[in-house]
């Protein structure tokens, strides 16, 4: 019984945490961008105001059923994925649903949100949306390959498909996977640049080319919902990377609420540091063309992915 209460309460807490941290990170990104660009920039909580404003729009134009469903679909996908990500190690509140094989499940679910977006954008009838969607799907084909290779490498090396097991391994052995299999980390890092869709891989909603791509016809509450989904997804990606490669968080021996606090602090620090990589790369890069982006992913990241698998097999003892 207690277990269920913790699970349900933890789910709510996780959702709130993901939303808040995701939005603050987006605000922080705007602030850091502004500082690099010699400006003062908006306050960090700016994105909350934007969201509130978008939700307070009085009129909303719907473009059919799928147009209506797309933002909801994104939110559903985001929340579902979030529930399968262990936020903190060894914590009753933030363990969430852990099951065998959730790494494979995640691979499928993370595409789910984009799919909803694609269907919704398709119904708006805006040519920019259609082109944006086709670009997005092409780009996804690009970055998914090295990413999957990196994950397969991890699965082979540690003979598990569970994130919690991977976190547990890092906790017990004291070695982070970034050192255990650096090639997998490199492949995943480079494909994460594509996942975040910041420059140079912001080809989906490139303003100078496609207005704002799939989002062109979504305004007001729809846009606000999408923003929320995007913030949660950003948090998911960050936590996933921290869980997989940077040892996860909450590996302290402090008991009770203090332990949870310290764990969250550790999580924030690690995710923030990881988040800065795509942000700073984005600040100094122009945008790739679609085919150049796919070329990029199929070159070095894929090479790293293959190396990661070989490395995993070597470590495993299967190779040689």
């Amino acid at each position: 019984m207690n277990d269920i209460i913790f699970k349900i309460g933890g789910a709510f807490l996780t959702a709130i945490l993901a939303f808040t941290v995701g939005m603050f990170y987006a605000g922080l990104r705007r602030k850091i961008t502004a500082r690099v660009q010699n400006r003062v920039g908006p306050p960090i909580y700016q994105n909350f105001l934007d969201l509130l404003k978008l939700q307070s729009k009085r009129t909303n134009v719907a473009h059919g059923f799928m147009g209506h469903m797309a933002p909801i679909w994104i939110i559903i996908a985001a929340m579902t994925v979030l529930m399968f990500i262990p936020i903190l190690q060894n914590n009753l509140w933030f363990e969430n649903l852990t099951l065998k094989g959730d790494l494979i499940f995640l691979l499928y679910m993370m595409v789910f949100g984009s799919l909803g977006m694609a269907l919704g954008a398709g119904q708006t009838g805006n040519p920019n949306s259609a082109i944006g969607v086709s670009r997005g799907l092409s780009q996804m084909v690009g970055f998914e390959i090295p990413f999957v290779m990196a994950l397969v490498a991890l699965m082979l090396q540690f003979k598990t498909t569970s994130i919690a097991d991977l976190m547990h391994f890092q906790f017990t052995s004291g070695h982070w996977i970034i050192l255990e299999n650096p090639f997998a980390f490199l492949a995943a890092l480079l494909s994460s640049l594509g996942m975040f869709r910041y420059s140079p891989f912001d080809i989906v909603g490139a303003p100078a080319e496609l207005a704002s791509g799939p989002m062109s016809e979504f305004g007001g509450k729809y846009l606000g919902t999408m923003m929320t989904g995007g913030a949660v997804f950003a948090f998911i990606k960050l936590v996933l990377f921290v869980d997989l490669f940077l040892g996860g968080a909450g590996n302290n021996s402090v008991e009770g609420i203090m332990g949870t606090g310290l764990g969250l602090l550790e999580l924030l620090l690690k995710t923030f540091l990881f988040y800065m990589i795509p942000v700073f790369v984005g600040l100094v890069s122009p945008r790739y063309r679609t085919e150049q982006a796919i070329q990029f992913f199929w070159k070095w990241p894929s090479v790293f992915g293959i190396l990661a698998i070989l490395w995993a097999l070597y470590k495993n003892g299967t190779l040689l």
Binding site: R30, A34, Q37, N38, R39, V40, G41, P42, P43, Q46, L49, D50, L52, K53, L54, S56, K57, R58, T59, N60, V61, G205, P207, A211, S212, M215, S216, E217, F218, G219, G220, L223
Partner: protein, 212 residues
């Protein structure tokens, strides 16, 4: 100055013949909530609205040259929460940067009607107020508020970035009071606006109803 100006400014009679009424005064209904219990909600929502202004990226006239300056490092409008929006659906503010030719006016009206309430119009430059130096041009409109409800005028040709920011701050004040955003008013007085618009736009091929 009894002698006639070289340009030949029109006489009072000439102007009066072409004169039509001022733009309709908007009722506050639909904008300000009169329920006591709603005051706090309105306050919070207006606070969010005023600090998050998405300006549509549409340089309708030559005033667009001061927008980059306003948005970039020295004047940095983003610290007020002002940022660009790529499409009309996402935008709050339609900024009319200068004169409007009749060809642009048609597009601007469409863009305005695609925006979501509450939406604001900032008219930028003297030429939107009374024609400015284009008072005798056959292709530019002379007073913007005949065709679209305007919230804030920024005078000057060109207005400096400081005055642009002042205009935004003025709009923020209006939003906080609940006095800005004339989308409902536009819909209420659609006949009046349509009549004016159709006088200028000859080939009228808009959808019948206002149902974007």
């Amino acid at each position: 100055m009894s002698e006639k100006n070289t340009i030949g400014i029109p006489t009072v009679e000439e102007i009066k013949q072409a004169q039509i009424d001022f733009s309709p005064r908007c009722t506050a209904a639909g904008r300000v909530n009169d329920k006591e219990t709603q005051k706090m909600v309105d306050y919070i929502l207006n606070f969010a609205r005023k600090h998050s202004l998405f300006v549509l990226a549409y340089g309708t006239g030559c005033g667009a040259i001061e927008i980059p300056a306003t948005m970039t490092s020295r004047y940095d409008a983003e610290r007020f929460g002002i940022r660009g929006a790529a499409t009309p659906r996402q935008a709050d503010i339609l900024m009319i940067t200068g004169y409007l030719s009749t060809k642009t006016l048609k597009r601007v009206i469409r863009v305005y009607e695609q925006m979501q309430d509450p939406k604001y119009v900032i008219a930028f430059g003297s030429c939107t107020i009374n024609g400015g130096m284009y008072f005798d041009s056959y292709n530019t409109i002379k007073a913007l508020d005949r065709y679209l409800p305007v919230d804030v005028y920024i005078a000057g040709c060109m207005p400096r970035p400081e005055s642009v920011i002042r205009g935004f701050v003025k709009l923020q004040e209006l939003i906080q009071k609940g006095n800005a955003g004339n989308g409902e008013c536009y819909r209420e007085n659609l006949d009046w606006y349509r009549e004016n618009q159709q006088k200028v736009i000859k080939n009228w091929d808009f959808p019948e109803n206002y149902n974007w």
